[in-house]
């Protein structure tokens, strides 16, 4: 996903995210530290202290207040950003729904970390998967470079649809690993994001509005229905913003899904985030052995790109879906469950199985990736497999 002839910087995922925030220069950032997202807050606080941004930084006393302050700030029409992980996101949970129902385009980094308990600081997706129905757009990134660009695109997407958006990066694996990031010039970022143009704002004292009234049986449902329409609209906007970005800056980011060696694939794996990088390598190795296997990386989980998935999988015989979180519903993780549901209406429905892996930061080595491919191959061949397999765990 190289940006051609661009300034190259060696940055960790957190640094890349903070650097994008600096270039965006939001009006308000309200944030609270939590491993592994702490650096984002720290780096940004330093930018403020050094006068490199013109942002009002609100060092709140909790994530609940971080999101609450973001809501208040965003309702003024200001451009508002924050970042968190795991317990912090869980503490925000109540307010996530309020932000989206008030249609406030807050952009947030979530550095994926396992939710307690037991307490753990390492990567899995239980945090953001726990917020999957909160009405936020969710973009899962594979590496620091993608995280950086996704934030900039995220501002435009969120502010066009008036929905909040989270960009996630895998804790430690992406947040703390140094990578080459090809960055835009400040000017290019500013031009691309433009000004936020809110429909209403609560600082317009001459035209007072009431935000967040009690909404009972006679209207609540319509407002929720409108959020569904907003999510549908988000699909169009994500597509057009990513296209525009690629065209302008010579990048080639996929909007929703990234098919990898899918052209003549007979069976495939669906993966998200950094694990997709490992899985690409495994696919290459298996291809060398003559296996017709492919990978699809799911980049956007909300709105769920069911049409794109149907299209890419329509001739595939067997699919393994990877989840770095478990729904504890005894039938696997959320990506598996939703993908199965999305493909149910295909004429020739593929066989599917789920893989739960990497919980609490459990390493996901290439051997495990190959094992997954082999299991999906067995599924394709009609061998008996479990509906859900747990990878890399002592049982």
């Amino acid at each position: 996903m190289a940006v051609k002839n661009r300034k190259r910087m060696a940055l960790t995922g957190n640094e890349a995210y903070a650097y994008a925030m600096k270039q965006i220069n939001p009006d308000v950032v309200a944030a609270y530290p939590i491993t592994p997202a702490t650096e984002i807050v720290q780096i940004f606080a330093k930018y403020v202290a050094d006068g490199l941004v013109n942002t009002e930084f609100v060092p709140v006393e909790s994530e609940h207040s971080a999101m609450s302050a973001c809501v208040g700030a965003s309702a003024t029409g200001a451009r508002v950003m924050t970042g968190t992980a795991s317990q912090g996101l869980a503490l925000m949970h109540e307010i996530l729904y309020i932000a989206s129902s008030l249609r406030l385009p807050i952009v947030m980094a979530v550095v994926n970390r396992a939710l307690s308990g037991p307490i753990n600081i390492h990567c899995d997706h239980s945090d953001t998967m726990g917020s999957r129905d909160a009405g936020w757009i969710q973009v899962y990134t594979e590496n620091a470079n993608e995280a950086y660009h996704s934030v900039i695109m995220g501002i435009r997407i969120a502010e066009t649809v008036n929905l909040p958006l989270m960009v996630t990066l895998d804790g430690f694996i992406i947040s703390h690993e140094m990578e080459v990031v090809e960055v835009l010039e400040d000017q290019e970022v500013q031009e691309f994001i433009g000004e936020r143009k809110p429909l209403y704002n609560i600082l317009d004292v001459d035209n007072p509005i009431t935000v967040g009234p009690l909404d009972l049986q006679d209207y609540y449902f319509e407002h929720k229905r409108q959020q569904v329409e907003a999510m549908k609209y988000a699909k169009e906007v994500i597509k057009s913003v990513v296209e525009e970005y690629n065209k302008k800056f010579g990048t080639d980011f996929p909007a929703f899904i990234e098919p990898y060696r899918m052209e003549d694939a007979e069976y495939a794996v669906l993966a998200m985030s950094s694990a997709a990088g490992t899985m690409k390598e495994a696919v290459d190795l298996m291809r060398e052995k003559g296996e017709k296997v492919g990978l699809v990386r799911l980049r956007v989980f909300r709105p769920f790109p069911f049409e794109e998935l149907r299209e890419v999988f329509k001739n595939i015989k067997a699919i393994g879906v990877m989840d770095r979180a478990d729904s504890l519903n005894t039938m696997g993780g959320p990506v598996f469950n939703e993908t199965r549901s999305a493909l149910y209406d295909l004429e020739t429905r593929p066989k599917m199985m789920g893989f739960v892996f990497g919980l609490g930061g459990r390493d996901f080595p290439i051997e495990d990736a190959i094992h997954i491919i082999e299991r999906v191959k067995a599924l394709k061949e009609g061998k008996k497999v479990d509906m859900v397999e747990y990878i890399g765990v002592r049982e």
Partner: protein
Amino acid sequence: MAEKLTLNLKELSKRTEGLASGHRACAGCPFPAIIKMILGAADDPVVVANATGCMEVVTTIFPYTAWPVPWIHNAFENAAATISGVESAYKALLRKGKIPGNKKIKFIAFGGDGGTYDIGLQSLSGAIERGHNFLYVLYDNEGYMNTGIQRSSATPFAAHTTTSPAGKVIPGKTQHRKDLTEIVAAHNLPYAAQASPSHWNDLIRKVRKALSVEGPTFISIISPCVPGWGYPEHMSIELAKLAVETKFWPLYEVENGYYKINYKPRNPLPVIEFLKPQARFKHILNRPDLIEEIQRFVDERWERLLWLEQRKPEENK
């Protein structure tokens, strides 16, 4: 600085719109009057954040609103955090020249005692500590009224609520009120005060004072509740007055750390005069020991205030 801190009734009546009629507060609920006084007291335009609770619920039922000013409700425990976000955005937008005419705006958060003493205490403490420029108004009806009269840490000793019921063994709430104004004052903020709608000129002066200083300010206002306290609906202001005259609810202010009691009843009434008209205390009217305990608590708090008041700023010595 506001030009002058007091307003007479004529001036006040000219200034204020207050809530639109048609809101759903109980007949006799005093907070619509409190809101009217506060909005009338402000010289500059205001933006309001409101915690979940009676005030929010009865003033805004979509698609209606009773508020004549920009207003935001976020959740129960975060009015202070919400207004801190609004105020921060205001500062940023002002700095970036994005507010037409660089309009001066004041920020006011309203919360009930549940949203302030209890679930919202952290958010309030954080916002005050960070030094945002806002006024927090606590309307204290001494219980969670919106959800059907449950105890809060503002509920007085022995009061009956649905979660501190007067039973055969336990006679209502077994703890005294938490002193929130003192907790707030411990943040060393520029201004904190207690007021009552019965003493409207004192209340308005306090609001104008609070809005005229830079930084976080706090006013706790007693707000009797008709069904929650159990009294005839015409008696709200009278009860607020009895709370002051019995020293149950001292009117005082803490300005830059210096205490001043604004009203010292010349012939204070015994606390029973405040308790008697209220159904929530009816089970203790034949329990002199419990009434005595409330009186003891009131006297002790009052003595403490008198003691705190002795420390005077240099110029007043």
